[in-house]
Symmetry: C2
Subunit: 353 residues, 2 copies
DNA sequence: CATCACGGTGGGAGCGCTCCCAACGTATCG
DNA sequence: CGATACGTTGGGAGCGCTCCCACCGTGATG
């Protein structure tokens, strides 16, 4: 008498026990074969593998998760509304990179949106339910409590970017400093003398580092930094326009502009055009992110590329390491020994400079 | 002596048993409260809820899945490489709709890409492992074996679109016939007399229905269908260009074009421009999908909109119903009684017609 | 020839939950 | 007042797996 209905027409799926019986071995042995333990004789292994194939056995994830206290799944947590996620190529590349790192493994990727307040509360529940072995946190803003919450829950996590220089959590960042320096260095190489800087919001760590890179390039060339040539934007096009207008008013003689993002560069471009400046003849323009915008702008925008796919891959690698380590019973690392990675950025020169 | 290390610094999470003890009740009672059973007295319920809150109890998903034989998770299976998924707004809207339908429930969404052959094999494994209660299959091509595979595995599934008129699986489609009819009807209303049709690949069910809708509109207006005015495209821009060139060569007197997708309409537009035809003065142009392209084209493209968000929501609703039904022990429905839904399309008139 | 080591193996004891049945009141009825 | 009913409740029996310990046989060792 079947107590519960087998699911669907596929019928009940075979269990470890049945495979063991079929192969004429014990449960433990089958388990060892399934999990690739070396402590099984060649002969027995073949026997078991045959039985597995005949029965079409697939281990039940829930049972495994319960017994082994791991899920073989990680979550990519996006603290943004879905819309933005899909709109930005950044995320697409991250997911791609994560997929590459996961391809070799049996680990499953879950996508979780935590845009609203309500979703965030649910996320905490979710992580508490031990549905995943760890999380990748992308697009984390400075001051966001989410990373700390995750950390407190004892869930392994890796961030993309950092919230500050001494980020407590494992993170993968790109070399914002180097990117900013390369951009301004390039403008100097091109013989530009009066270089204006439109920064991102300076309380965002990445934006500040970019700016510091710019200053370093100027310093290395023995140029003084003129505060009149610096304006802060907010990563929006509107912000870029405002900053550019300001700069142009203060220093009509500027012959180059570095903007901390392509979007802001797009705004700056509009203002420059409006003022009758030709790009790049009168004013050279360089952006940051190497987004689609960069290629589609007229003229095509020189920009600093971040290796986003690579970042996704590295984040995943770090996370898997972290998970493996904790599972090994070793205590979680202190803040000091947490993994951190900074990947190189690259200047892509196009027509605007 | 702890045999296994508690995970991370969060320490071991409380279990049902501990909640029961704290509340001074039995395990069964706590379970009933957690699952919202009505067979619990108000007093006891309050007791248990207090204990749950104090201990910060969250049920362990794996244990629940194992015992109850359900996972409270569904997968959105995308049989495409990741790139395309992110590139097309279609998917973004589907995900959005799915999210809406899931918001009320405790069901989790998993995103799975099955672009390559290898991924497909893994998907089968995955579904066999009973990781999800059901799947949403989007962007299924005619002749794709994936849906049948899923069905054979006994996993509840819902398709977006259909593979044929008598699709065996539950599906949510949009009214392609009505969309095609509306588009051509609109052109007739505008007084166009010589309407050319660029169809999608006619072995794709949706494309064929669109085309049939066009023919119906012409028939309703008492217009004969001139085979010279029909050309088959392949949903690409290049295909649209080729078809348009052909049509223009055969019938230079055409004064309107309906293309089975916005992308093909974009290709057609280039050829029309090249031939010196003004849109819409000389030739009216209508597309299909109402994608971003439509709004950004010059002139803005009249197009047929599908309610994609709604489709995502309805797919999810159907799937959840299907799952609930099967869990109830009722046998899976035969092909005849499977759920099917067709949502209305809508013509969005812009400047090109 | 007894002893030891070790690769290989079987199977008990859980993991934390749901399901269900038996048992407990207490209220209702004849 | 005993019998019946019903709303509640406790807890046993698993779900299918991993982990680990005990045990087997073999070959090497003293």
């Amino acid at each position: 008498m079947a107590v519960r209905e087998p699911r669907g027409r596929g019928g009940r799926r075979p269990t470890l026990e049945q495979v063991a019986e079929r192969a004429g071995v014990g449960r433990g042995t089958v388990s060892r074969v399934i999990n690739g333990s070396p402590r099984v004789s060649e002969h027995t292994r073949a026997l078991v593998e045959a039985a597995v194939a005949e029965l079409g056995y697939v281990p039940n994830t829930a049972a495994r998760a319960l017994a082994a206290n791991r899920t073989d799944a990680i979550a990519l947590v996006v603290p943004e509304p879905e819309r933005r996620f899909f709109a930005e190529p950044y995320f697409s590349d991250i997911v791609h990179g994560v997929g590459l790192a996961l391809a070799e493994t049996e680990v499953q990727l879950l996508l979780t949106f935590a845009g609203g307040d309500r979703e965030r509360r649910r996320l905490a529940q979710y992580l508490g339910a031990q549905r995943v072995d760890g999380v990748l946190l992308v697009s984390v803003h400075a001051g966001d409590p989410l990373p700390d919450l995750v950390d407190q829950l004892g869930v392994p996590a890796v961030l993309s970017g950092r919230r500050s220089a001494d980020e407590r959590l494992p993170s993968v960042d790109s070399d914002n400093f180097g990117g900013g320096r390369a951009a301004v260095g390039h403008l100097l190489d091109r013989g530009r003398r009066t270089i204006a800087l439109i920064t991102g919001p300076l309380d965002v760590y990445g934006a500040r580092r970019r700016h510091e890179g710019c200053l370093a390039a100027l310093a290395a060339a023995g140029r003084p930094v003129d505060p009149e040539l610096v304006a802060e934007g907010d990563f929006t096009e509107e912000g870029g326009r405002r900053a550019m207008a300001e700069l142009l008013a203060r220093r009509p003689d500027l012959d180059a502009v570095f903007a901390g993002s392509d979007v802001m560069a797009g705004g700056a471009r509009l203002v420059l055009r409006g003022a009758g400046r030709r790009i790049p003849q009168d004013v050279a323009l360089v952006g940051y992110d190497d987004s689609v915008i960069a290629r589609h702008l007229e003229p095509a925008l020189t920009s600093v590329r971040q290796p986003i796919v690579e970042m996704g891959r590295e984040m995943t690698r770090l996370l898997l390491e972290e998970i493996a380590e904790r599972a090994g019973g070793r205590p979680a690392r202190g803040a000091g020994e947490r993994r951190r990675l900074v990947l190189p950025t690259e200047l892509v020169v196009r027509d605007s400079s």
